[in-house]
Symmetry: none
Subunit: 186 residues, 4 copies
DNA sequence: CATGAATGAGGCTTCATTCAT
DNA sequence: CATGAATGAAGCCTCATTCAT
């Protein structure tokens, strides 16, 4: 029951290394060694390193959105559930070795031809954006247009809080962003 | 008139390549070839690739802050000069091949031991933050505390607008951030 | 029949170059070129240049001790078989381009962190020392203590004869050492 | 009174580095940095790195022979002054970071065309050999022929003791060589 | 489905030396 | 007599990928 399949072990290992050590900092050899698979087995399952990154990012999307949903369900705020996003960021930051947003990190220093990864980042951000819009639309107090406008502003606050807390290695940008969010929701 | 020194050619070439192609994507060989210098000449002036990046980032800091100052001097806004930051981002984005924030890009996928580069990123963001605070303090309408609080919120909007417009390859996050900024300034 | 494996070709080539040209004088590029293998193939089989040297030294140990045993089996001397060691040195010296003791040569100008090579040299000398002791113990005329005492003295004569004949490029130190050995055996 | 000339600083620094770190392990840049001289100044005084090594070896010869003479003057032994050589080796070994014989060390891993250094090693060993012969000839108990024969045997014991104590990082080979020497002197 | 050997291209860095000032 | 910039060659090592088995 314990033994994962080859593909799963590769994705799990690569995901950990890509996120915590960086995409360029992680070599194929390290992945196969830590995953305990043969090199050609890896290329049996994935055409290239980029394809592994795509699997990493799609898995991370599911995980990240799930945890986010969990978190905003647990927390409530008079200005609306969306404010809970920032509580999630704070929780996440307290994880050992916070390294910011996996999508931001991977696209900022990438070979030009790695278009699949770029597409994944755009996709993730679009889905996250839509998710925010949906949360706000569910609130009774906003019209559809207001939900979109507010949501986009909040998205930017979240992105900025993530990257800045990563650089500064400090929670303050998240707290500030939460405060700004609350003010914008007035 | 034309011939720059070796050091200048190295920095100029490396800066272009680091920003537009990425730090990890740029090799020493490419730098020396495009700069037209010998490999050992490069290492006469710089101890390591990381040191070249530090020179790139300090130069970029001066350039970026200078352009930003220019821009907010030219633009005026009823809510205060600081709003002009977003006009600068828009101008900047229209440059050929906009690649976002040089400091965000370089630290998100970096070997762990490149601490000098990390320090440069932190330094830049701190100086930029202080610059924002100073601009706001110069306005008569805000107390010192208000200037700091507002400034931090605006900083986060700027960071978020930069990374998101880079990912989406679109100006909309900048426009949204500007609107949010104006609302926060009320 | 002819085609050796990559690993064998590397060891064979490196052994020749390390012994006849020197460890520091032999580059990885020269090894791969003369062995006809790709650079990455070399590093598939050996983690580092030092590891190649370890393979060279262990192979040389087997070869050297084997030839030595052969030689003392063929030669006899009234003072004991051990005297044949010096006949072996003389034979060896007449080989084209005698370069002395591979272990002496490699450890005398070595980066400080190449501890594996140092260990190989110590190991070889200890095994050679024990071999000498054993030869002497097999003679009926010496007690165990006498065998050890005599053996250590002979070991020093051998080491001195090797290094001095290498420097002087002349056989005389070997002949002198043989004479001294015979006198000590009285 | 304190400030040495450039040439002296270079020789002093290079001698320390060549002996304790090794010839191949010591770069020109390290020498000029630790000696505090400009690179072109070094090449003003020495045509090449090899020439610096020649100066190192000639200086070391004077120093080494001087210390040896001192030592055997202080020590006396019933079998003759020459036995004091081994006491000198023991003293020398107890110096911090004993690294064996400078001439042995430098010739064992040297580019083939460094003939000047090779010549220095041969010269040193010949002068040392003659010195030993002279010491023995001064004793009344040996004929000239006996002095040469004995001296050559002792030379070999000394060389062997030096290299073996260096490899083993232990004094025992010196003590054994001394004992063998005494026995040969009977 | 799994394996590990083999690879070409390129990674960053250092070498001893010469040159113009 | 001193300086530091400049250099071509070479140093050791790692990359993502493919191949034959």
């Amino acid at each position: 029951m314990k033994k994962l399949g080859v593909r799963e072990r590769i994705i799990e290992t690569a995901s950990r290394l890509f996120y915590f050590n960086g995409y360029n900092q992680t070599g194929i050899n390290q992945i196969i060694e830590e995953a305990g698979v043969a090199k050609a087995s890896l290329y049996q399952h994935f055409r290239s390193k980029e394809d592994i990154a795509v699997a990493y990012l799609t898995g991370r999307h599911t995980m990240w959105m799930g945890k986010l949903n969990d978190c905003i369900s647990r927390n409530s705020h008079e200005k609306g559930k969306i404010v809970g996003c920032f509580d999630y960021l704070s929780e996440w930051l307290k994880e050992v070795d916070y390294r910011g947003c996996g999508w931001q990190n991977i696209i900022t220093d990438l070979p030009n031809d790695h278009t699949k990864i770029r597409d994944q980042a755009i996709l993730h951000k679009n889905e996250f954006r839509n998710w925010i819009h949906t949360i706000l639309k569910e609130e009774e107090r906003y019209s559809v247009n207001e939900a979109v406008d507010l949501g986009d502003e909040i998205l930017i606050l979240i992105e900025g809080a993530i990257i800045l807390s990563q650089i500064q290695k400090n929670e303050w940008p998240i707290k500030i962003a939460k405060r700004a969010c609350v003010r914008l929701l007035n």
